[in-house]
Every structure is written in structure tokens, then in C-alpha cells.
């Protein structure tokens, strides 16, 4: 009997608590420390603050759920009506809703015109010392009109007037490694490239920007993919090339009535100053 009553108390308590969870408390979803998407996003919205004395402080609220993949962010946001997160424009699907930032919607044309604030570049990086002919040919394909057309399908091409591809027909194996954000477009580029140069063989290893770059510097791969700018130390051994322009979109649950947020509101939400959706003016 006693055990039963304890059990009943626990059930009742958890019901009360889950009822509390039904307020409009914002559930912030962020990416893990070191993710290229996180560092770009937090710098863009001044969540990461650089001090004059060289200090850097990431003020993302400690209450934010940490998801280690774009897909996990999407699942979390689509499953929780109070959630907010951020992902790459190319990964956006219709299970979540992208909000406009400062009244500008996250559309390709707005990113291209520079009106949409949260744009970033995708890079590839090759060792300065030497690149194999096969890797060079693949890079020239990526930067050609054909390659940029592939990029333009889900992201934004860097160069609309690129010359068309002239292959050197190089055969050989190319290893590409790095950012999981760049990975989807790289897979498509690989497919298109193998159609024009069947002699080549491309292996793509998905990890993250930093490890891709260090792999390229150590000669473990031919081309690194990076979703963030290269650091000073990395620029000593690697040469970056911009291959696409991406935007970071802030996503909310489809049931959420909010469709626009200002940059300040985004900063306040992600630093934990605003913790409830009622704090946002619609």
C-alpha cells in the first residue's frame, strides 16, 4: 500500500511537471562546440563576443540542448512546438519552418542580393605544396559552369559566369574529407563529375571542418571541405577556395505562429535573455 502511494505521488509529480512544460518556454537547440555552423551562426548574431584583450566568449545559453548533427536539430525542432534551432539552407526541408530575419526571408534571391544577413561561404582547401592532377581536374570542374550549376540547385553559385569545363581526363583516386554541411553538395558534384570523367574515383569522408582540414594538411586526403573560414595556422599549409554560398536559416516548429525575428531577438533567445515565446512581439 505504501509502495503504491509513493508510486502515485511520483506519477502525480511528473504529471504536474510535464504540465509545466506546456507553457511557451523556448527550447533552444544549438550545435556542439567546434561545429562550423555554430561558430558562423554565433559570430553572425554576436552571440560570440570578442573582447579587446583577445578573449572570445561564446554566450550561447547553457540551457540550450546540444545536437551533434543537422538532422538531429531538425528532428528536435519538428518534434517540439517551442523549439528553435539553426541549420544550413541546403538542408532545410518542410518538416520545419524557416523564419525571416529582420523581415528578409531565407530565399536564394535574398541571399544572392546580400539582403539576407546570415550568409556564409563553403570552402574547399588543398595543400599548398602539391595537388594531384586528378584533384586539380575535379576542382576545375567544381568551379566550372557545369559544377556551379550543380551547386546552384540547393545552394548559391559563387560565379554565374564561370567558363565551361575542359577536362584534362586525369585518372586516379581523389579523397575528399570534412564538413558534414558541405557533404551533400559534394556528393552531387561527385556524381556530376563522374558522369563527365569516368576515369576518376572519388571517396568522400564525412566528418567536420576541423578534422577535414587537418587531414588535408597531413596529406591524409586531397581536398578538405570546410563550412568555416580557415584559421591562421591552417592557412600556412592550405589554400582555400570558395565553392558555394550558403545561408544559415533559423528554424522553428511548424505550429509556431512566429514567422519573423529581428537579429536582436535571435541574439536574446540564443543567449538566454528571452526564455519564453511570449517575450517576442509578433
Amino acid at each position: 500500500m505504501k509502495a503504491f502511494s509513493i508510486f502515485a505521488v511520483i506519477i502525480a509529480a511528473s504529471m504536474t511537471f510535464s504540465a509545466c512544460g506546456k507553457t511557451n518556454e523556448i527550447a533552444v537547440i544549438t550545435r556542439e562546440d567546434g561545429s562550423g555552423t555554430r561558430s558562423t551562426f554565433t559570430e553572425m548574431f554576436e552571440i560570440t563576443v570578442k573582447g579587446d584583450d583577445g578573449t572570445v566568449t561564446d554566450n550561447t545559453t547553457l540551457e540550450a540542448t546540444v545536437a551533434n548533427q543537422t538532422e538531429v536539430v531538425i528532428t528536435n525542432v519538428s518534434g517540439n512546438k517551442n523549439a528553435i534551432g539553426y541549420i544550413s539552407l541546403g538542408s532545410l526541408n518542410d518538416t520545419v519552418k524557416a523564419v525571416s530575419i529582420d523581415g528578409v526571408s531565407a530565399e536564394t534571391k535574398n541571399v544572392k542580393s546580400g539582403e539576407y544577413k546570415a550568409a556564409r561561404e563553403f570552402f574547399i582547401a588543398t595543400p599548398k605544396a602539391s595537388a594531384s592532377p586528378a584533384a586539380e581536374d575535379f576542382i576545375s570542374f567544381i568551379l566550372s559552369a557545369e559544377g556551379q550549376a550543380v551547386v546552384g540547385k540547393s545552394y548559391i553559385a559563387v560565379n554565374d559566369t564561370a567558363p565551361s569545363y575542359v577536362g584534362n581526363g586525369a585518372a586516379g583516386k581523389i579523397t575528399v574529407a570534412g564538413s558534414s554541411s558541405v557533404n551533400p553538395v559534394m556528393e552531387k558534384l561527385k556524381e556530376a563529375y563522374l558522369a563527365v570523367n569516368p576515369n576518376a574515383e572519388i571517396e568522400i569522408q564525412m566528418s567536420d571542418s576541423s578534422s577535414g582540414l587537418s587531414n588535408a594538411a597531413e596529406g591524409l586526403c586531397d581536398i578538405a571541405m570546410s563550412s568555416r573560414k580557415l584559421k591562421e595556422a591552417e592557412l600556412e599549409t592550405l589554400m582555400p577556395t570558395t565553392i558555394a554560398i550558403d545561408a544559415i536559416v533559423v528554424i522553428v516548429n511548424k505550429e509556431n505562429a512566429i514567422s519573423n525575428l529581428t537579429s536582436d531577438e535571435i541574439n536574446d533567445i540564443f543567449t538566454g535573455k528571452i526564455t519564453d515565446w511570449s517575450g517576442i512581439s509578433k
Binding site: S14, F17, S18, G21, A27, E32, D33, G34, S35, S39, G54, T55, V56, T57, D58, L62, E63, A64, T65, V66, A67, N68, V72, T75, N76, G79, N80, S207, D208, S209, S210, S211, S214
Partner: protein, 288 residues
């Protein structure tokens, strides 16, 4: 004739030596692996521990590796692992032990044939599948929180707890049960007052192995625990465990950050060591 016999004998002995050396080699490999892991962990984490400071590392409450200057405090993760494991024990052990009592003492054969394979199957499910289950069932109710992770881990340690507890209960001599009946106890009284206490050390061993499983679990926990690197204020808040901390950031880490993660591994290793030693101690005590 005797020469032939001698040859056969010699060949037999050679074969025996050969076989024995293969067995010895196999045994050495596992010991070697443990030794290498110890050396690797120690060698890679000592520089970080020296630079950060052992106390600052173990009792620091802030983990911000990307900041300048960075801070590496694993106390939130140590507590996270302890909370989640304790939650798993609170949820998993009563269910597990009672299931074991049912299976060993009052289960009709037909139902036993159904439950036992079911429990064994539970042990074989990959942890990432548990993670998906948690994301689909637990996240919408509790969010990414200690309670979600505890419930999930509670289910995951069931097979370990049930299997070992059942074996412990079955190892109790039948005379204990019969003696209790002879003294006038009913079936349940005899089971709970005589058999269960006699199987106590076996059940404790089961619990300790369950703890070992819970504290080392990573994939499923990452998917449901929220992974916030701070000390949680309630069981409905998210938490980051030692294992999740390593997996989340290892891909990105370089330099001191990487070494700090390896040092996190060292802390986890020490925990597992303590758990195993207490398991051994319990086993040797129950023998003597």
C-alpha cells in the same frame, strides 16, 4: 615399432606446445590491449591535466573549449553521468529484480518461454535503436532531460539485471525455500524473506554490472539527454554525460581540447575501474 611410437609422441607434444602457445598468445592480446589503453589514456591526458590543473579539471563547473581563454571543467559531466546512472538504477533495478523473482519462482513454463527470449532480445538491440525509440517516445513527453535518459537506460540495463539476478535466485538451495514453507511461510513470504536475501550478493553483482553498462552507454544517451554542459537544476533539465562529452566534440578537437577530452576518458576509465573492483570484491566475498 617403438621408434614409430616415439615419433607420434613427439609430434603430439609439438602439437600441444603449438596449441598452448596459440592460447597463451590470445590471452596476452587482451591483456596487452588493456595495458595499451591505460598507457594511451595516461600519456595523452597528463599534459592536459598538468596544464589545466587536476583540481580545476575535476571540479571546474564551466566547459567552454572554444572560448579564449578556454575553460575545461568536467564536474557537470561527472555529475551528469552519476545522475543518469542513478536514475537508471532507480528505474531499472526494481523492475529487473522483480522480473527475476517472477521468472525464477512463480512463472508458468508457457509464459517463461515467452518472456525469457524477449529479455534476451532486449540485450541484443543496438543502442542507437534505443536512441531512436527514446527520441520518438520520450522526447515529446519529457524533452531532452535526465528523466528521459534515466528511463531509457533503465530499460537498457534490464537484461543484465534480470539475467544475473535470476541466476543468483536459482543458485539458492531449494532447502531455503522449503525450510521457510515448513516454518509456515506462504509462497511469497518464503521467496522474499528467505530466498531473496540468500541471493543478495548475486543481485548486488547484477546491479553493479548494470551500473557499468549505464555509465558507459553513449549513443542512446546523446540522443535523449539534451547534452548541456552545466550542472542541471532539476531532473527535467538536460544533462551531458562523460561519454557524450567525448563523442560530441572529439571530431573537432585539437590541441589542448583534444587532450582534455582524452582526460575525460581517463575519468570515465577510473569510474569503470572502481565499478569492476567492487564487483570483484563482492564476488570474492560471496565465495568465502
Amino acid at each position: 615399432m617403438s621408434k614409430k611410437l616415439e615419433l607420434i609422441m613427439r609430434a603430439k607434444i609439438d602439437g600441444e606446445i603449438f596449441a598452448r602457445s596459440i592460447f597463451a598468445l590470445s590471452a596476452v592480446i587482451s591483456i596487452l590491449a588493456v595495458a595499451l589503453i591505460c598507457v594511451f589514456l595516461a600519456a595523452n591526458s597528463f599534459p592536459a591535466l598538468r596544464e589545466i590543473g587536476v583540481l580545476k579539471f575535476l571540479f571546474g563547473t564551466s566547459w567552454k573549449p572554444s572560448d579564449i581563454p578556454p575553460s575545461y571543467g568536467v564536474l557537470p559531466m561527472i555529475l551528469g553521468s552519476l545522475y543518469v546512472t542513478a536514475g537508471a538504477v532507480i528505474i531499472g533495478v526494481p523492475i529487473g529484480v522483480l522480473t527475476a523473482v517472477f521468472l525464477a519462482k512463480c512463472c508458468p513454463k508457457k509464459i517463461y518461454k515467452l518472456i525469457k527470449p524477449g529479455v534476451d532480445l532486449l540485450a541484443g538491440i543496438p543502442s542507437v535503436v534505443y536512441g531512436f525509440f527514446g527520441m520518438a517516445i520520450l522526447l515529446p513527453v519529457f524533452g531532452g532531460s535526465i528523466i528521459s535518459a534515466s528511463i531509457l537506460l533503465g530499460i537498457m540495463i534490464l537484461p543484465t539485471v534480470i539475467g544475473l539476478s535470476e541466476a543468483a535466485l536459482r543458485a539458492v538451495p531449494e532447502s531455503y525455500y522449503e525450510g521457510a514453507l515448513a516454518l509456515g511461510a506462504g509462497h511469497y513470504r518464503a521467496t522474499f524473506a528467505a530466498v531473496l536475501p540468500a541471493a543478495k550478493s548475486g543481485i548486488f553483482a547484477a546491479v553493479i554490472l548494470g551500473i557499468g553498462r549505464a555509465i558507459g552507454e553513449t549513443m542512446a544517451v546523446i540522443m535523449v539527454a539534451g547534452n548541456q554542459a552545466r550542472i542541471p537544476s532539476s531532473i527535467f533539465k538536460g544533462v551531458r554525460t562523460l561519454t557524450s562529452n567525448i563523442v560530441l566534440e572529439m571530431g573537432y578537437a585539437e590541441g589542448l581540447h583534444r587532450q582534455a577530452l582524452i582526460a575525460t576518458g581517463l575519468v570515465l576509465f577510473v569510474f569503470i575501474l572502481i565499478i569492476n573492483l567492487s564487483f570483484q570484491a563482492l564476488k570474492s566475498r560471496s565465495k568465502s
